[in-house]
Amino acid sequence: MSFEEEFDRIIQRKAEEVDFPFDEQNWEKARRMLDNERRAMGIGFSSKMYITVFLFLLAASAGYFVYNGFIDPSSTNVAVSSGKSHAGNKAVEKENVEGQKKSDVKKTTDRNDANALSESNGMTGLQNATSTSENKVKTVTAASDNFPQTTENKILANNFGVEKNKTELVPKNEGINYSSEIATSRANAVASEFTEEPAVSLDGGEKTMGNTTGSPGHNFVEPAASDGNELKYEPLLVEPMTVMFPLQEFVATPEIISTPINTLDYFDEDYYTQEKHKTHYIDVEAGAAYLLGWQSKNGKDGQGINWFGGVNFGFYVSKKISLSAGIQVYNIAHIDNPFFNNKNTEYGFNSKTTQTLITTNSLYYLAFPLRFSYAINPQNQFGVGCNIGLLMSSKNTEETYFYQSDVRTDKSSVKTTGYYEGMNTTHVMLSVFYKTKLGKRLHLNGEATFAPFNIYKYANSQINTANTLGFRLSLQYTLFEK
């Protein structure tokens, strides 16, 4: 044994021989810490519960508000045929049916054959349930040649909003009747859904001693019997708290080596040798999105800054890879061009034309973002994502122009909420993002998004392709990570 080793052993033994008298004050401090810790744990748990419940309620109310919200309580049902009709629609439908029965007004189109055109366009048109008598228009025609020519193409307002202009549905053929019947059946369908253990001894004479490292040659040791040489490693029976120190020549006992370790904790041998990594997290996110917009005949549409926010729940697949799913609300605003342009002409003594333009100014989506992230290092990560958005509502402007013998006589403009059937209810966005850590819990997320599908399902106006390319910048705050 070298002198250095001897030196070490003396230090070892001397260091462990010391006996410190119990300090009651220290216990008082420990007791207070213990109380605080347990209280904090209780509070922590309840706080997490409250936060979860709060977020759930927030998301639920946001969803409800977006879905049913923006409805002016004073508004009346304006349209019939949306699949999301509620009870009010039945009344409207009834009125429509009555209207159909009572209709005795001759209907003509530009070609003096409104029905033919309506049928050929496959469009049942915009239907309003309430109207002022002077605005009644009996003929429904599609003015645009661009409008798709299928029976599915019903540009029908959902049952939200305020309407001043009533356009009664006056069926002349099966195509028009279809609308009313389907509406009724849809409305009905939707309405129907809606021991004794071995003693643990700390005696100096215990058989096994703990080296906490678990490394070969440094494990739990069985002390050698004292041979009188104080420099040799031996059990010190005189001192009850004496620990025999692990040295190279002592071998770990198999039962201790094989002790299973379930979790990495303070007492685990791998506490430092294995890096502890998190398994899951919850974060909240809020930010702004800039959409590049799309080209329409009157210039760029949908271009500008929008908002979004949500909650994400993620779990780590590995140290570097994580997956997350969440719930998010966002909007697409700055839309100025109408997606629907409809002209109705009634020929009598002189022609009376009503032109209706519908513009969805803002669209509100409830989305479910899915993200796949790869951590380059603890500070930075990048990934790809897919955002599946469901259209919940929209803010619209309905403009009606009245012409008599091609001379404009009046104009009305009404703001409505609720989306039209001509809108695409699903908005899928693909994204790539880069996230960097700003603080312990705060991240900055930059994201490029592209929506491959048109936001309009049917548009008879001057819109070409209304898919959305944009950029998002958001702050993500980690509420919980474990």
Partner: protein, 183 residues
């Protein structure tokens, strides 16, 4: 001192009297560990309490086949190292140095040191620089390898070895100085 399974069972049930008894029984041992790693008694007491909370927090996971003493020592050492790692200023003092002190003959020193009391040894260890003291404690007293120490203190193995040699050298000098003062 015996830690009975019943006492552990009561601690799992958060029985305050049992927690007090356990604290009292383990106090001297845990304090001896804390004092070796800490710069003063106040810090040692503070870390001891933190470690004790961790012991109580994890006591339900304790397996009787592992000696309780070894188990609590592991927790306490890990707590001490955690505290050390949290302290960035102290960490900055750990500089990667690959050169070693020349180890001179320890024979005289060993002879003198064997006559030292425990308190004197503690006092000498306490005088060591923070990082050096930790490496010395981990290697010499708690039996960790340089590789493990390197992981724990986030230093290289070479630095760990350097600190160990520095600690030995420093202790030797201190003991020699003490001897001279006495003479």
């Amino acid at each position: 001192m015996n830690i009975q399974p019943q006492l552990i069972a009561l601690c799992i049930k958060q029985d305050r009297k049992a927690e007090y008894d356990l604290y009292k029984l383990t106090y001297s041992y845990l304090m001896s560990i804390c004092l070796r790693y800490s710069k003063d008694k106040d810090t040692a007491s503070e870390v001891l309490n933190m470690g004790y909370l961790k012991i109580l927090k994890s006591i339900n996971t304790y397996k009787p086949e592992v000696p309780f003493k070894a188990w609590i020592r592991r927790i306490m050492v890990n707590t001490l190292i955690d505290e050390y790692r949290k302290n960035k200023r102290e960490r900055e003092k750990v500089v990667y140095v690959e050169e070693y002190f020349d180890s001179s003959n320890f024979s005289e020193v060993n002879e003198v040191m064997s006559k030292f009391s425990c308190t004197q040894i503690y006092a000498e260890i306490e005088k060591l620089p923070e990082a050096t003291k930790k490496v010395f404690n981990l290697f010499v007293i708690d039996g960790y390898s340089h590789k493990e120490i390197a992981l724990m203190l986030e230093i290289s193995e070479g630095t760990s070895k350097w600190h160990l040699n520095a600690a030995r050298q420093k202790l030797k000098e201190q003991i020699e100085n003490n001897l001279l003062i006495k003479i």
